[in-house]
Structure formats: C-alpha cells, structure tokens
C-alpha cells in the first residue's frame, strides 16, 4: 500500500465522519426543538415596498 492508497482511505474516512456529523446534528436539533419552531421560517418580505410605505410615498 503506497501513500496515495492511504490518502484514498483517509478521504473515505473523512467523508464518512462529515456525513455522520451532519446526520447526528440534524437528529439532535430535531430532539431539542419542536417541529413548529424549525418550520417557522417565513418567505422574504418586500423590504423596498415597506420602506416606501414608511416614507409615506
């Protein structure tokens, strides 16, 4: 086994760790927060129009 093959295995290992970290974090967040909180995002507001209304145009 040469250094390049070791790097290949290291790449697989790091990839697996990153995926596991993301899945574990997503699961943890799901446990800590309610679905209502996690899904509470609202679509962007029209800040340009709101600013115009504020100025009384």
């Amino acid at each position: 086994m040469n250094v390049w093959q070791i790097l290949e295995y290291a790449a697989w290992a790091v990839s697996a760790l990153l995926l596991l970290w993301m899945v574990a974090d997503a699961w943890k967040v799901g446990q800590q927060f309610s679905e209502e909180q996690l899904l509470s995002s609202k679509e962007g507001v029209d800040e340009l129009f709101a600013a115009e209304q504020k100025r009384g145009h």
Binding site: L39, E43, V45, D46
Partner: protein
Amino acid sequence: MSSSPPSRSGDTDMADVAATQPKGANINLLKVLGPVHVWALGVGIVLVGEFMGWNYGVGKGGAFGALIAAWVIGLLYTCVAMIDSEVTSTVAAAGGQYAQAKHTIGPLMAFNVGLYLVLAYTMLEAADVQVAGQLVQIGVARIAPDAGDAVLTSAHFWWAFTILSLMCLAWLNYRGVFMTLTVNFIITACAFASIIILFFGTQFATALGHADAQLLHHDLLTDLPYGWLGVVAALHFGIWYYLGIEGTCQAAEEVRSPGRALPLGTMTGIITLLIAAALTWYIACGLLPWEYVGWDLELAPLYDAAKIISWPTMEVILFIGTLFSAIASANGCINDAARAWFSMGRDRYLPVWFAAVHPRYRTPFRSIIFLIPIAAVFALKVPLAQIITFSILSGLLNYTFMPINVWLFRKMWPLGSIRRGFEHPFHPVPAVVLMILCVTTFFAVYLGYGRQLLAMMLFYWIVSLWFHFRRYQFVRRADQFTMNWPKPVGF
C-alpha cells in the same frame, strides 16, 4: 418575522446572534450577504464552464463557430441577467425563479420551475464533484507516474475524492451561508486569476523565455468546417460558458439589501463571465488546433493548453484554477439546490419536513442532507456528458419561462405601482430576444441530444400530473402570495 441583527464577522458570531433571539420568534434564513457574495455565487457556479465543456462546441462548429456561439449565448444570458436583476430584487425570496413563478403565473408553473432549478443545480453539482475527483487522479498521475494501477486507473481512487469534495462542501453549506460564499469568493477569484495569468503569459511568452506559449491564431484558425448548421449545433455548448449565473437569485432571502446587492452582483457577474469566455476562447484556440480542442479527451482544454506549452509553473496554476473552479461550482450548486428544495417544502409543494431551518446555523439543513445521496449517485455512476445535458436542459426550460415571467410581471405590476430594486431597460426587447434564442438553442440541443430532450419533457409532464392530481391538495393556497404589494392590475 424575527429580526435579529446580522453580524459580518463570520458564521460563529452569527450563530451566537441567532441563539439570542427572543424565544418563540421565527427561525428564518439569515440576512448576511452582500454583493460580493452574490457575485461569488453566480460566477462560482459558472466559471468551471470556462475550463471545460465549451470546447465541444468547437467540434460542432469549428473555432469560429464556437466564438459565434459564445457571443449569441452571451446575449441570451445578458437578457437572463437583466430580467433576473429586476424581478429578483423585487421578489426577495429564497427559491428565486420558483418564488417569482408563484407570484406571476401560478402553482403548476412554480412547481415545474422549482424542479428545473433543483435538477439543474443538483446535476451540475454531481458533474463538478466528478470532475474534481478525476482531476485529483490526473494530478497524482503527473506527480507520481509509478503510483500503480490501483491509483492511476482505478475508478475507486477518484470516487474517494469525489465523495470527499461533496461531503466537505455539504458540511460547509450546513454550517452557514456566510462562510460558504466567502470561501466561494476566494476560490472563484483564484480560478478567474488563473485565466488572466495564462492570458498575460501567452502575450509575453517570448520575452519570458517560453517560445512554445506563443499564440498562433493566424495558422490555426480556419473557416467554418461544417457551415452555419455547425454554428447552430455549437449553441448547445456555448451554454457552458454561462450556465448558472441565474443562481444569484437563490440568495434573495439572505442578502442584506436585495434591491442593491442582487442587481450589482448579477450584472458584474455576467460581465466577468463575458470577459472570461472571450479570453478562454482566444487562448485555447490560439494554442491548440481546433480539431484537438473540439475533441478533447483530456477533460480540460485550458489545462491542456498550459501543459502543451512546456511551462511547468503555468501548468500548476491552471491545474489549481481548474480544480478550484469545479469546487466553487459544486459549492454554489449545493447552496442553490437546497434553497429551491427548501422553498418548495415551505409552501407544501413537497413534504413540509424539508422546510426546517437550523436554529444555530440558519440554513435549510434537511434539504442540504437530503440532496447529498442524489448528487453522489449521479457523480459516481453517470457519464459527465449525460449529467451536464440533464443540467443544461433543465436550465433551458427555466430560461424559457423567464420572458413569460417578466412580461406578466410588468403587466400585473406596471412601473410605478411597486418599488423595484432595478428596472431593466428596453422592455420588452430582452424578453423577446431571450425567447427567440431559447427556441433556437432548443433546436440546437435537439440536433445532438434529441432523445434526452424528449425524455426530460416526458419526465416534467408526468411530475406535473402528479402535482396536479395528488400533491396540490396539500398546498396552502392562501399563503401563495407573500409579497406586501397592491393587487395586480386586472384582479
């Protein structure tokens, strides 16, 4: 809507700010991006097309045919950028063209546009990480030609680096949009700089002691080898120069000032790409015969050009530039595909589970994770040309929607009825030009990939039927119209 003050000092600080927001407040995407990030998102997704892919157009239409394609398709994308700058800077919502379609046309069009976006970016992402893995293998072959067959020819070797690229970028996207697009800005700027360096290197080749790097346009350029039909066929591959600049729209909900940042980032982005396209064609077609550029089997024509001139420093610079461009593109695509998928979930066009926002990182984390295996399967198992064709076809369908979108947008909310971040000039000329060029390019794609085009149209017909008969019952119809605008004209 929560309004925790954005920080500019990085994602950790932003997460801390997010964590301090009042209990019970909505968890929204974070508004932290500026014009530089919008530029990095748009140009980052596209620039890989300067390093590879466009050259197949040379094979279809010769060197001049590819140049004409670059100009014509450049015009198509200039129209896209103008229209997008106006509509997106006003409809400031994640999902970009999907959110626009929801407001101007209706749910079925919005569903289709959302899928065009997700497919276009996920397929491009798969192509990018596939290229990144293969480039690592090519680089190792140059450094260590005696590394053995298990390293130099085995698919398993590049698979490892393809998956590593995908996971690192997904993790970066998961952890926050500010750092993701700051990294994209740096690596995109490096990739663009490598093209500039190669250009100046060829201009001063003799003075710098590299006579092989002289441009030989006078000897290498020929007439159109396959006539004007070849030029039309080359239009398909002219798309590679610019595919994805419309991705700037996906940042709409996360920019601090949509009215300023989106038009500025998008318009400077298309200008950058027009310059990069011209330089790329000029260098590659001045160093290599058109027959070689057009049938390139070495993956990346600019890197090949740097290899052939016996200038090791330039070869290293172009290798890094090519790799960075592929990584930047995949990074931006993960960002955009996840936002489009997230937006469709938020409106119940897809299961609402996908609409979750991470309370600390303020990213659509479930959508990011969900799309990883899809990109991985395509990256490992499907040939590059096939993946990129799926991406191009979905992109073209999206561009065809844009003229209709802007036409209705101007008709329903005429100038003066709502404040726009940017008003594109000469309406409806850009919309008409865009529609004509889209139809022409569909014909060009049909010449080379007719079956794929028909298969993709069939796919969208089937999912449209599914949406109409099965999914639409779950959509919250009253929530479709989210912008705080007056009623449209005629309603």
